[in-house]
């Protein structure tokens, strides 16, 4: 791991949040067609300050404060994208993406296929839990869009990937949903790779090499998986490989198959709820392509199937914890 979590900042380090801002800044400087749309993103800099300073730098015509109208904003971004702009839409919390579900799934996702209309746009927003945000400020709605051909979905776990994937998303000729984990915003930081750092969409990242059990995960639970892997190695001598998906649509089938064929044991971890989550899709793919390589059933560690509650004992109980991952890996290793 080259990223660091917590602790004092070293020279030249950028947080996950700053990395996203840097990427948008660099893309706006590179391409005059890139513009930002969202609620309170201008002079105020956004609820989490992700766009802080960008209005001062690029002006009100490229950093546009909008009414509270998620469907309106996403629809307007699509129209501007048809005309050659490259809008980046901020949803104040990704929980509000459901207000734009129709626009994204019916209009945006189908535009190229049904009408040959380019729709290059990014829809981004703070996602995820572990922050005591309650049912409407903690969601992970990625699986609701996984089922929609025409969209792309990325969900980085490191600051460098956040930057590189944002740049790739802005340059992509289709709509990319960019999930940002708010727990990681200021907790994860690292020195950025030099130059024009672009991370290709659709490529997973091997976060830790191992030989006994594979964990496939993404976003905040990558860090829990890495913590569990350290513990499993030191306490139980189990060598765990951790694959950080980074992109959820398209999935990196090649990397998924490679790690399963290497360790023959697979645990899928996600913070999203269980039923209909991405783990189910990955499980189906692995069973279709790697059945002969499996020495154990595929297991899942996910949130429980409940709306995410607010109070710490409740939230901690519902969301996947490091100890859950340790328990699941030990069960797989014992097979």
């Amino acid at each position: 791991m080259n990223a660091r979590k917590g602790g004092a900042r070293m020279t030249g380090e950028r947080t996950y949040l700053e990395a996203i801002r840097d990427a948008m800044d660099e893309e706006m400087a590179r391409d005059p067609n890139v513009l930002l749309l969202g609620e309170d993103i201008g002079a105020f800099g956004g609820a989490f300050k992700v766009t802080d300073g960008l209005m001062a730098k690029y002006g009100e015509s490229r950093v546009i404060d909008t009414p509270i109208s998620e469907a309106g904003i996403v629809g307007a971004a699509a129209g501007a994208a048809h005309m050659g702009m490259r809008p980046i839409v901020e949803l104040q919390f990704i929980d509000f993406i459901s207000c734009a579900y129709d626009m994204l799934t019916n209009y945006v996702a189908t535009a190229r296929y049904r009408a040959f209309l380019p729709c290059p746009m990014v829809v981004r927003g703070p996602s995820g839990g572990y922050v005591r945000g309650g049912p409407f400020h903690s969601q992970n709605p990625e699986a609701a869009f996984l089922h929609t051909p025409g969209l792309k979905i990325v969900y980085p776990s490191t600051a460098a990937d956040a930057k590189g994937l944002m740049k790739a998303a802005v340059r992509d000729d289709d709509c990319v949903l960019f999930f940002e984990h708010k727990y990681l915003y200021r907790r994860v930081k690292e020195v950025m790779p030099a130059g024009d750092h672009v991370v290709p969409i659709g490529k997973a990242r091997l976060a830790r090499e191992g030989t006994d059990v594979s964990i496939i995960t993404y976003a905040a639970t990558v860090w829990r998986a890495l913590e569990a892997a350290e513990l499993l190695q030191s306490e139980y001598g189990i060598s765990v490989e951790v694959l950080d998906l980074r992109s959820l649509l398209p999935l990196d089938d090649e990397a998924i198959e490679a790690t399963v064929r290497k360790t023959n044991r697979l645990l899928i971890v996600h913070e999203d709820t269980r039923t209909g989550g991405i783990a189910g899709e990955i499980t189906a793919r692995v069973s279709e392509t790697c059945f002969d390589w499996l020495d154990a059933p595929i297991l899942r560690v996910t949130a429980a199937d409940v709306p995410l509650p607010y109070s710490p004992p409740l939230e901690d109980y519902v969301l996947p914890q490091t100890s859950d991952i340790v328990r699941a890996v030990r069960r797989l290793a014992a097979y």
């Binding site: 307007a76 129209g79 626009m103 019916n106 049904r114 051909p149």
Partner: protein, 375 residues
């Protein structure tokens, strides 16, 4: 609530000008308005015939009695302006340059239709040269989209205008509200036309809104609102042209309510049982937009029977040859279904059980006559 067959008076909200924008139209342009309205009607009548022959795949949607609203409004745009039509705006699309051949191929699901068989009916567009964008079925969605299209014009300093239609029914959607409000706040060069044809499928306007008239909604958005007789093609042209000019001058959004009447059902299969007795007939007899305009052309332009007959012959010949060509056009290649969901990857790989199978129906099955497998 039964709707009177009388045209409403021209709105108090409309600009009271000594000269009307339509005064500047040449005789040739005035005849073009007629031609587009007749072409709309003849083409739709041809589609009805093809529908009954089962050559139209899926539903058929008519704009009978609303041709003036579509044609007169689109005629106020320039080529560079972008139009976003609805299902009853075939006439507007023809004005923008859509061809009968394209429309026929669309309705017949042909492989060389403008959407290559991916979308139905007049859900198609062209943003390269003619500048119209196909609608989706989720009514109201095109309003935010056109807010964005016209936002890009304003941001780039292009003197282009957008025109989006919304039905009386879809003014009840959230997308309409979000889109028109966004466009109003951003002072987008957008004209929003509410086509009040009395019905959303079977629902009359008094079950759609408690507002006395749709034009009143403009006040709430802080934009100009005007109302006009949608069956008077020159009145439609006048209010739309004024709205387009305002937008081009940077004065923002106008809501235009056009009063018209839907004489056919929501789609061809709709028996219109909910429309009061004699209502449809009264509109047909007393307020047909084409009949009304023919009288205007005769009275003010001295248009003769011979001229009208020549136009008719020209339209019929055009629709005839387009019908033949569309009918002879190939259906799409099945595997084209996998192309172009994304720019990259450009093609979706076939599912394993369709690998090296070019059709959904293999040698052991019959495309027609399911249940009579006799292999």
């Amino acid at each position: 609530m039964a709707r009177a067959g009388k045209a409403p008076a021209r709105s108090k909200g409309a600009a009271v000008a000594v000269t009307r924008p339509s005064d500047a139209l040449s005789r040739e342009q005035r005849i073009a308005l007629y031609r587009y309205m007749r072409l709309t009607r003849v083409l739709e009548e041809r589609l009805v015939a093809l529908y009954r022959q089962t050559k139209v795949v899926g539903g058929l949607f008519r704009s009978l009695g609303q041709e003036a609203d579509a044609v007169g409004s689109a005629f106020a745009l320039e080529q560079r302006d972008v139009l976003s039509p609805l299902i009853r705006n075939l006439g507007a699309m023809l004005v923008k340059g859509a061809t009968p051949l394209e429309v026929l191929r669309q309705y017949m699901a042909k492989g060389n239709s403008p959407t290559r068989g991916r979308e139905l009916n007049i859900h198609f567009g062209d943003t390269e040269t003619r500048n119209f964008i196909g609608q989706i079925s989720h009514l109201g969605d095109m309003v935010p989209v056109m807010a964005g299209v016209t936002l890009s014009f304003r941001l780039r300093g292009e003197e282009r205008v957008g025109l989006v239609y919304i039905g009386d029914g879809a003014t009840s959607t959230g997308a309409f509200h979000e889109g028109i409000n966004f466009a109003a706040v951003q002072r987008c060069p957008l004209v929003v036309i509410v086509e009040n044809n009395g019905y959303a499928y079977s629902t009359p306007t008094n079950k759609q809104t408690a507002a006395k008239q749709f034009v009143d909604k403009a006040i709430g958005y802080g934009i100009v609102g005007v109302q006009a007789d949608g069956n008077d093609v020159l009145a439609v042209y006048d209010v739309t042209k004024e709205a387009v000019d305002r937008a081009r001058r940077g004065e923002g959004v106008t809501l235009v309510e056009l009063m018209t009447y839907r004489r056919k059902g929501h789609a061809e299969h709709d028996n219109q049982s909910y429309q009061p007795v004699r209502e449809i007939e009264r509109w047909a007899e007393e307020n047909d937009p084409i009949d009304r305009y023919v009288k205007v052309l005769r009275d003010t332009q001295g248009v003769t029977d011979d001229e009208l007959a020549a136009i008719e012959a020209d339209i019929v010949a055009l629709v005839d040859s387009a019908t033949d060509e569309a009918d002879a056009s190939p259906m799409p290649e099945p595997t084209d279904a996998l192309v172009g969901v994304y720019a990259d990857p450009a093609i979706v790989p076939p599912l394993w059980f369709r690998e090296s199978v070019r059709s959904a129906v293999d040698a052991n099955e019959r495309a027609q006559g399911w249940g009579t497998y006799d292999g």
